[in-house]
Structure formats: C-alpha cells, structure tokens
C-alpha cells in the first residue's frame, strides 16, 4: 500500500477531471418528443432491463458459488426431498407398463343380471367379442351354470328342489394379454362393469386383483408424500432466503436509500431462490437416475419370475422437464414468501 502516492496521483487528476455537472437526473435522459426517439428510449430501457437481470443473475450465482458448503447442503436437502417421491412415481409409471400376461392367465368373469332373457344375454356376450382387446368370449347360460355348479359343489340335491335358478348367466372373457398392460387390463374390467346388464365383473385370479388394489393405494400414498415433501422444500428454501435477507439488511437499506425500487432490492433473493430450486431439482434428478439403475435389475428379474414382460423406462424428457420446473417453481415461491413480508420501501 502506498496511500501517499495514490493520493497524489488522485489529486493531480482532480484538477483537470471536472466531469460533474449538477444536472437533475431526470433531465439527463430526456429526449425530444419524436416517435423515433421514443422507440429508441423504449429499446434502451428494455435492454437496460435485461442487462440488470443478467447482472443480478450472475451476482446471485456468484454468491452461492462463494459459499459452496451451505449451498451444496441446501441442494442436497432439496434433492432428497424431491428425489424420494420422484423415484416412487417413476416406479408407479413403470408399474403401469407392466404386461398383463402372467404364467397364470387372468380371465374376466362377467356376471349378468339374473332376470335377463337368455337370447339377449347371448347377444350381449357376442358383442363383447368385437372389442379389439378381447380374444374370446364364452357364454355360459344360467342353466349351464347351475349344472356346472351342482356338478362340483356337492349341493346337487338341494339345488334340484329350488323352483327357480338362483345363478346368473355369465361370460368368460379372455383378454389379449400379449397386447395389454396391467393398467389397460384393469381399465377393461372397469369398462365392462359399467354395462347395465352386467352385475359384476371379476378377474378370476385373485392376486392380480389384489395387485390392482395395492397399486392404487401405493399411488395415493406417493402423491400424499410428494405434496408433503414439496411443502418441506418450500419451507427450506423460504427459511434459507429469509436468513439471507436478514444478513443482508444493510445492503437492502443502502439500495433503498440510493433510490433502488423494492423490485430491485428483492431481485437477488428471487434469483437465489431460483438457483436453490433448480440446483435441488438437478440433484434430485441425479439421485433418481442412480436409484433407477440400482433397482432396475432386481425388478426385471422379479417380473420375469411371474412370467410377465416388462420394459423398465428410465425418466424421460417430460419427467426431467417436469421435475426441473417443479424445483424452480418451489424455489421462486419460497423466496417470494420470504421477501414479501420484508419491507423494501
């Protein structure tokens, strides 16, 4: 340090460098009122707008970069919170592509209304076969059902004494398993049950039916978990930014005093929120990719054991884009929550 020399240098310059004019700020940018000057003015302020955004964006990034440990910790917390539901969701997505053909083929039993005329029932059964998802449909009339039932139930004596047949006619439907996923099979069952003449539609293999219920339950749990964890991310980001705002209250008051707008003072914090959210979502994506790699093999093997086919799909572009947008959205919302309450005027 050589302050003396520096002072001398400054002092010598000072004599010639009289660049200051006491002109009110508003007058400096004033231009004549022609349209072209108006357009030039608009263009200038638009480019100034983008310039300030660029500056603030890079400054906010630098601030996070300069404090790598807390930044990475925040990213990891957000990453874990987003990755957990994301992994479970991608498992769900994959469950939906699971083929419906297993070593035991599940048929759908359509029990028709008891009072339905036989001709009508038979016609209904035939019409079902026009559905491209159905391979074959076999009609079993009420009397056939009764014969069959008494044959294997051992209640033949009792049944003969009844004046009317208590059993309904039914249709045994074999779906084209090779072309259907498990979800599509479930959809088919639901659709068939909606016909008025159908009393009940049932898969004849119980565990496949149970699988549907389990997947349904799992789906709800995953969504509930996703909502809770998104809330946690919002709070983590909000709290981080809030502390940041408090630490930088000096800066905020100076910005205020030199004529910065509230928007200007808030902007760096919104950018921080953006980076926390985006970085957190990126971290989550990496975690999801690793998790998928890790669980892919055992799942493939498990499905094979049941004789089904299955193509494990890795997260696609829509998934990646969705997760990143969610992160950014949570980041901005969290930051906004924290700067909103603070007085910037």
């Amino acid at each position: 340090m050589k302050p003396n020399k520096a002072n001398k240098r400054g002092a010598s310059r000072r004599t010639k460098g009289a660049t200051f004019r006491a002109v009110p700020i508003g007058k400096q940018t004033e231009q004549s009122g022609t349209i072209s000057s108006w357009i030039a003015g608009v263009r200038q302020s638009v480019s100034a707008y983008f310039r300030t955004h660029k500056e603030v964006a890079s400054q906010s990034f630098k601030r996070l970069y300069d404090a790598p440990l807390p930044t990475v910790m925040t990213w990891l917390v957000i990453g874990v919170s987003l990755a957990l539901p994301a992994i479970l969701l991608s498992l769900l997505v994959n469950a939906q592509t699971l083929g419906s053909g297993f070593d035991q083929q599940a048929n759908i039993h359509l029990y028709l209304q008891v009072d339905m005329p036989e001709a009508e029932a038979q016609q209904f059964a035939q019409q079902r076969c026009e559905d491209v998802r159905i391979a074959s449909c076999q009609f079993i009339s009420a009397s056939e059902a009764l014969t069959e039932f008494s044959g294997w139930s051992g209640f033949a004596d009792v049944l003969i004494q009844l004046d009317s047949n208590p059993l309904p006619a039914w249709v045994n439907i074999t779906p084209k398993h090779a072309q259907l996923t498990l979800t599509e099979l479930q959809q088919l069952v639901v659709e068939l049950e909606q016909f008025e003449v159908v009393d009940q539609a049932q898969l004849d293999i119980l565990w496949v039916q149970r699988l549907f219920s389990v997947i349904d339950l799992f789906q709800r749990l995953v969504w509930a978990l996703a909502v809770l964890l998104a809330l946690a991310v919002l709070l983590v980001i909000g709290n981080t930014i809030r502390m940041d705002v408090e630490n930088r209250s000096d800066e905020i008051s100076v910005v205020k005093l030199v004529g910065g707008t509230a928007a200007f003072a808030r902007r760096p914090f919104l950018y921080s929120g953006f980076y926390y959210g985006f970085g957190g979502a990126l971290t989550a994506l990496v975690m999801v990719e690793f998790a998928v790699l890790w669980i892919r093999q055992p799942i493939d093997r498990l499905i094979e054991l049941y004789g089904s086919h299955f193509e494990f799909v890795a997260p696609d572009l829509a998934f990646i884009f969705g997760l990143l947008s969610l992160g950014v959205l949570l980041g901005l919302a969290g930051a906004w929550m924290s700067v909103r309450k603070y007085s910037f005027d």
Partner: protein, 217 residues
C-alpha cells in the same frame, strides 16, 4: 430547494426530536446544520431522505410536497438525493468500485456510463487507485470518502451529509468540505450536519442551529 413548514417529529417513545421547525434553503445554497448531540440533526436529515415521516407539518423539496409522494415515486425522488451517513454504511461484500456504482446500477445506467462516472467520482475523492480493493482494506477516512464518491456519482440536486467529517483529521475534514463546496458551485444544494463549529466558522456558510429540537435564529 428545501422548505420545512412547522415540522415536528415525535418518536414512538414520546420523545420530541423536532419541534415546530420552519426554514428554507434555496436551490444552490450550501448550509450547515449544527447543534449539540441529540439536538435532532440526524432526525431532520432522515425526514428529507424519507427514512422517516414527520408527525406534523409539511416538507417541500424542489417543489414537491413529500407527504404527497406516492410509494412508487419514492425511489425516483431518492435518486435525486445524495446522502452521506454519519456511519459510512459501505458494503463489505464488494469492491470500492461496486460500492460507488450502486446508485447507477439501481437506476439502470449503461455499463459504459457507469464506468465513466464511477471513475470520475473516485478520482474526485482521490481513490481511483483503490477501486478494486474491498472497503475493509481502507482507512476510516478513505471509507468516508468512498461514501462521498457514492453520493456524487449520481449528480444529485440535493446533497445531505450527516457528520461527514466525524472520522477525519482536520486536514481531511477541510478537504471533504472543499469537495462539498466545489460540488455546490455546480448548483447542488448542500446541507451538512456537523459538530465541528470551528470548521463551520472557517467555511463561512449560513448555519441552521438546532437545540433540543428547536431552531435557534
């Protein structure tokens, strides 16, 4: 022009910091504000910079009644003001250059214009060679001068200074006052609050004297 009309300020604890003050400072004047500690000098400057509102009375700055200034116009109004604080309030997370550039960034000046103005302002306070240092690496007097550069960079129409020479030795104090005087000669209205009566006498500018929140005539 600064015009106070029967202005009083009572703080929330019931203390009357200013009591029925009326005065006016014409455009282009340089005026001192003196008085013992606690007389209300800082309070008066805070009212002008809209960091606080008067309890009663009106303040008119360059023809604008401050009470009628809507929230959205306050930042623009403040850009026409320059305030040097009692404590310099520099930001230690950025260079001297960036500290001085802040008022220009806030007002979206072009990078070229920012460079030109910041260098000219730093030159004025003889700190051009230290533009890339952190203010923490400067002496108290140098920090005070950075604060002054930050004010003049924006060519304000009104310059307010609260004890600008509090941390400076007599020679530097005179230099700083000389800067204000120079600046005043270009038409800027200057209002300086200070304890330093010797300096005030030497400068020969008009003097508003406060005592317990009242103006002595």
């Amino acid at each position: 022009m600064i015009r106070f009309n029967r202005v009083s300020k009572r703080y929330q604890n019931g203390h009357d910091a200013l009591d029925n003050i009326s005065f006016s400072v014409e455009q282009g004047q340089m005026v001192f504000l003196t008085g013992h500690s606690g007389a209300g000098k800082s309070t008066l400057l805070r009212l002008i910079s809209l960091l606080d509102r008067p309890s009663s009375g009106t303040i008119e700055i360059n023809g604008v009644e401050l009470l009628q200034l809507s929230g959205r116009k306050i930042p623009l109004y403040r850009r026409g003001l320059g305030v040097v604080f009692q404590e310099h309030r520099l930001l230690f997370d950025r260079s001297v250059y960036e500290n001085v550039a802040l008022p220009l960034r806030v007002a979206s000046y072009s990078p070229l214009e920012i460079r030109r103005r910041v260098q000219a302002a730093l030159d004025r306070v003889a700190l051009l060679s230290k533009e890339s240092l952190n203010p923490q690496e400067l002496s108290g007097g140098e920090q005070q001068r950075v604060g002054i550069a930050r004010v003049i960079v924006n060519t304000p129409t009104i310059l307010l200074a609260d004890e600008p020479t509090g941390n400076l030795d007599p020679k530097l104090s005179e230099e700083v006052m000389g800067l204000f005087q120079q600046f005043n000669q270009f038409g800027t209205t200057v209002l300086v609050a200070t304890h330093d009566l010797a300096l005030v006498e030497k400068m020969g500018n008009p003097n508003l004297e406060l005592e317990h929140g009242r103006l002595l005539v």
